[in-house]
Symmetry: C2
Subunit: 299 residues, 2 copies
Amino acid sequence: MSLVIVGSLAFDTIETPWDRREKIIGGSGTYAALAASFFTRPMLVSVVGRDFPRKFLDKLRERRIDLAGVRVKRGKTLHWHGRYAHDPNVRTTLKTELNVLQDFKPVLPESYRRAEIVFLSNLDPENHDFILRQLSRPKIVAMDTIRYWIENKPLALIQALQKVDILFVNDEECRLIARELNLIRAGKNLLEKGPRVVVVKKGEHGAMLFGKNFVFGVVANPCEQVVDPTGAGDAFAGAFLGYLDSIGRFHQRELRRAAVYGNVVASLVIEDFGVDSLLRASELEVIRRYNDFRRMSKF
Amino acid sequence: MSLVIVGSLAFDTIETPWDRREKIIGGSGTYAALAASFFTRPMLVSVVGRDFPRKFLDKLRERRIDLAGVRVKRGKTLHWHGRYAHDPNVRTTLKTELNVLQDFKPVLPESYRRAEIVFLSNLDPENHDFILRQLSRPKIVAMDTIRYWIENKPLALIQALQKVDILFVNDEECRLIARELNLIRAGKNLLEKGPRVVVVKKGEHGAMLFGKNFVFGVVANPCEQVVDPTGAGDAFAGAFLGYLDSIGRFHQRELRRAAVYGNVVASLVIEDFGVDSLLRASELEVIRRYNDFRRMSKF
């Protein structure tokens, strides 16, 4: 099996009511790839500027993440600046400097093109076809999106959904795309737009999975200290797909467990700023959390 | 085993963005007793005015609810008038006419006094002692509260908590009492104030249980059509305690299952206005939902 992740490597400036970090490393591709690396050897497609630390790329390589698809371009790396409210589910984007990500056309190295799972993370939906055409025969096309594309390219987004197997959205995005307040109806509505599986991430309230003939709900892994929620959703998707890639089956049972692994790895992410806790954690820690979670939710 | 529920019988006027009901029957005691009646034969302590329909009391009796503790007093029955926002978790109380509930001192009939479980539902915390003194030796003292008492009688509430085994709160109340935003820390904080078990009801996001050496999280039963959330929390508690009463054991395993039964019966309540869906449902329907829920949340 093989998993290609197309997403950003970025600098994040993060403000919480209690603390602040200036230009630490983030990006949807970083979080998703690190999360997936607990389970498999993901191949990353991304672009950075010359200002991006090579040392960090080395760290990703140490985690067995394939960086053949990461281009270093003249210019500056994507920089996102956001602020969280006391309620960590509420965040405001203060600034997004796309920099080298502007006009980025993701080209896949030859070695990536036979991948069986591809994750299109927060991309312009108009770029999906360009990427998918480079893959010889993916079994699972997964995508995540953001409010910006839902509001600014609704038609392209709906077209993109038709070619997707697994859609990741948060609860707000789910309601927005479906134009439906009730989350259960909204999730089922999205199923009719193309995806075989819709995964709704609900932050501190866990996640829901909608399939053609099943619904799965799971609470979040209890966390007493939410330091920085950035990247939790990307890590959820990365772990979800990394687990599926490692198992190589995509039935209900595997999808449910993938969501629990997504949950568990996301709970790691929010305990510290940036990717630090992902870098520190071992596979054993992920397994331990999975088992603890299983005990926690048993009845 | 035996379960005494002290709570209100009331008229509710309910406005939702889509519909409205004028003076239908409600009250925390009504919801809790009906929910408990799927599992056991609850004994209700309450007061109504002469305007309360005898026919409805007969319906409660048909459900094997003991009404020896329900007084009919000269005057009018409690009337609550509330409005729900598009988000059914958000509600505004427009009016509360206490009527006969004003100065209600709940006196337990002789036949109730050896009950092993007592549920003090949304009462003035200063009345708790008066009730508890009438019970010879309850094994489980459970209580629910409302924002009004947290804000207006904080000291009495904290004192009341010291004599409680199981505390039911919603997430907002939990944060308010604990003065702590993080729900996990807040729940654990409440454990230190007296209760052996804290049950946090999170509406559409399910529930959490905090015990001395365990945490249990459970998602809500998915509901595509939330018609009227009134009474869901009371029904949750009623089903929870009714189940425990029927089992007669109060260990972790039973507490977890009690929460799932609470969930399942609450999901019934919100599908229609008032108590109609509780009156229509059979024990079989509750079992069916429990089993469906088990399948839904399995991984």
